[in-house]
Amino acid sequence: MSTEPMSGAEIILKALVDQGVEVIFGYPGGAVLPIYDALFKQNALRHILVRQEGGAVHSAEGYARSTGKVGVVLVTSGPGATNAVTGLTDALMDSVPIVCLTGQVPTHLIGNDAFQEADTTGITRPCTKHNYLVKHVNDLARVLHEAFYVAKSGRPGPVVVDLPKDVQFATGPYTPPAEIQHRSYKPQTKADSRRIEQMVELMAKAKRPLFYCGGGVVNSGPEAAQRLTELVRLTGYPCTLTLMGLGAFPASDPLFLGMVGMHGTYEANLAMHDCDLMINVGARFDDRVTGKLAAFSPGSKKIHVDIDPSSINKNVRVDLAVVGDCSSVLADLLKAWKAKKPKVDERAIAQWWKQIDGWRKRNCLAYEKTDKVIKPQYALERLYALTRGRELFVTTEVGQHQMWAAQFLKFEKPNHWMTSGGLGTMGYGLPAAIGVQLAHPEALVVDVAGEASILMNIQEMSTAVQYRLPVKIFILNNQWMGMVRQWQELIHGGRYSESYTASLPDFVKLAEAFGAVGLRASQAGEVDDVIREMIKVDRPVIVDVCVDQTENCFPMIPSGAAHNEMLLGPADKAEKPTSEEGMVLV
């Protein structure tokens, strides 16, 4: 049932509207002018003009991850598309649903090295879940609807649709979205019921069980996190989350052990190492979590629930693989557990908790309390304390501040924590915060940043000011690329090669130059005041928190080390030099 013929550009916008899109993040250019012309003539879609295409993709990621919807990007050919590549890779690594429309030179010029031509489908093939080059207007509507389906179904990811300019001008039919039965792409969302039963059996007889859950639970939707919470509480088993999973289980729950991994808590990592049953729901045994693979949780049976079969047995061989969508699997599991009412070994579980509580007493996130300098951990503790009770969304850049934010900010709900976990993209946080704020205009959105990362996409301040998005950029400014400096200190003999940034801008004046508000805290006593002021101001704010320059992020599992070889503080480092094998790892 096609409607009267429309131009390709009109078909594109109609398809977006029919897919429920409200906001697109983009930047115009020669090869997308017909689409921008069509945008000009309509009111259904809101276009947010970013300042660089990389910002557009991260904004769309922030929008997508805080809403569960597909984030949409519109950029021009050539440099527009190549600037989007980092964001696309980021979205692929963290499974964020994105549809990125790229302009392309007219079909007859493709391959001729035309002005602003790039082989966009070639370049983006390894950094997208799928991509399309639409060579005929008759395919346009179908491909666009399919792109949304591929982006959001199964394991979500970025999809590029490359749109030659002549196709945007050509006239063709529009077909509305329909139930898609893809020819070859059919992700499995419902798990095999026998595997659910096996899972219940394994869980029932565990003596030292541990839930290890990740971003897959968040991606699966809010009901997945509710079901996980119900299941964990029903069993009374401990639960740890990955960086991407924070918020999937309430941080305030006594069953929560904190984050796992390289900078995770002592109790979470030792529980990973010593458990006899690891119940992995929606996590992918990333190297930042496993540490040394040969010594990873040597005594445990492992269950892995994942929607992507290629995640199973990739890094760690598991004993029971359950392919399915986390939400669906957790629903089945809850039902099966309740029906069976298994008798768990309560004595063993109590003993396990006793052991865990012993690790907890180590208080691994403790830091030196002082009023001489601002400790970055202190600044984040105060940020958390002074924002409690508010609808708070946090994005981060990448580095020490990101890890401290993961350790010290507590999330009760999913979709409130947006960070670049897989790719580790400096410059992610500010544009992501813009996307989050657009989706949640009334909420408090804070980008926890470092002074180095923030400069990577600082141009997006201009976007925030233009659209009056009151994002708060909370810079933990130590004048160093902190995580680089930390590794150089611990692993490279204190040779601080190029990790110090001279000639940093005055961030207060920089904020003012953009038309935003700049605040600074230089002493511990000023921290509360600037945070209160930052919350009060209804405009974009940069807060420059001048923190201790030498503080390192602990606990830390050095690369190449096992979970039970973690460094808990500065005193630990001398005794345990990093192995040669570990040094070559990133």
Partner: protein, 167 residues
């Protein structure tokens, strides 16, 4: 790796632009081996092509290769013929040999034993065509070396499972 094993994998894909690049990019991007790869359309009406890949790896790597292939959007089916049971593998080779006199006669004689056909001939050369398992072709090429082997062109392996069922 000591437990690395050779596997022949058949992949049914939509015959659309870029599909081969997706498969090859997957192998190069993730560091998997390709010993040979053949591709051609096998169902014009459904616009489907069949890719036959011969690769090697540990069981964990082979499992990854199959899962990663299956994850590509235009891939319909991935079948590990080495695992599913008995199957036949064939390869076509064209082999150019130059020689005169006794060597020329000897090359013809060996070609006859291997059931290779001479499909081109000049006064001092032959082009032989032969099909067979890769091992058989390797053996024939080895024998042609001292007799004046000039050039070889091979298709790589195509394979199909025995019995009445499709993959």
């Amino acid at each position: 790796m000591s437990d690395s094993k050779r596997h022949t994998i058949a992949v049914l894909v939509d015959n659309e632009p870029g599909v081969l690049a997706r498969v090859i990019g997957l192998f190069s991007g993730r560091g998997y081996n390709i010993e040979s790869l053949t591709v051609a359309e096998v169902d014009a009406a459904a616009r489907q092509s069949r890719i036959t890949i011969v690769t090697s790896g540990t069981p964990m790597v082979i499992e990854q290769i199959k899962a990663q292939l299956d994850r590509l959007v235009p891939v319909h089916r991935v079948s590990d013929l080495t695992m599913v049971g008995p199957h036949v593998e064939r390869e076509l080779a064209l082999i150019k040999v130059r020689g005169t006199g006794e060597k020329r006669v000897e090359s013809l004689r060996i070609a006859d034993i291997f059931r290779a056909r001479a499909i081109d001939s000049t006064i001092d050369s032959f082009v032989f065509e032969m099909t067979g398992s890769p091992d058989k072709i390797n053996a024939f090429i080895k024998l042609m070396e001292p007799l004046g082997l000039i050039e070889v062109s091979r298709t790589g392996v195509v394979a199909i499972a025995r019995g009445s069922q499709p993959i």
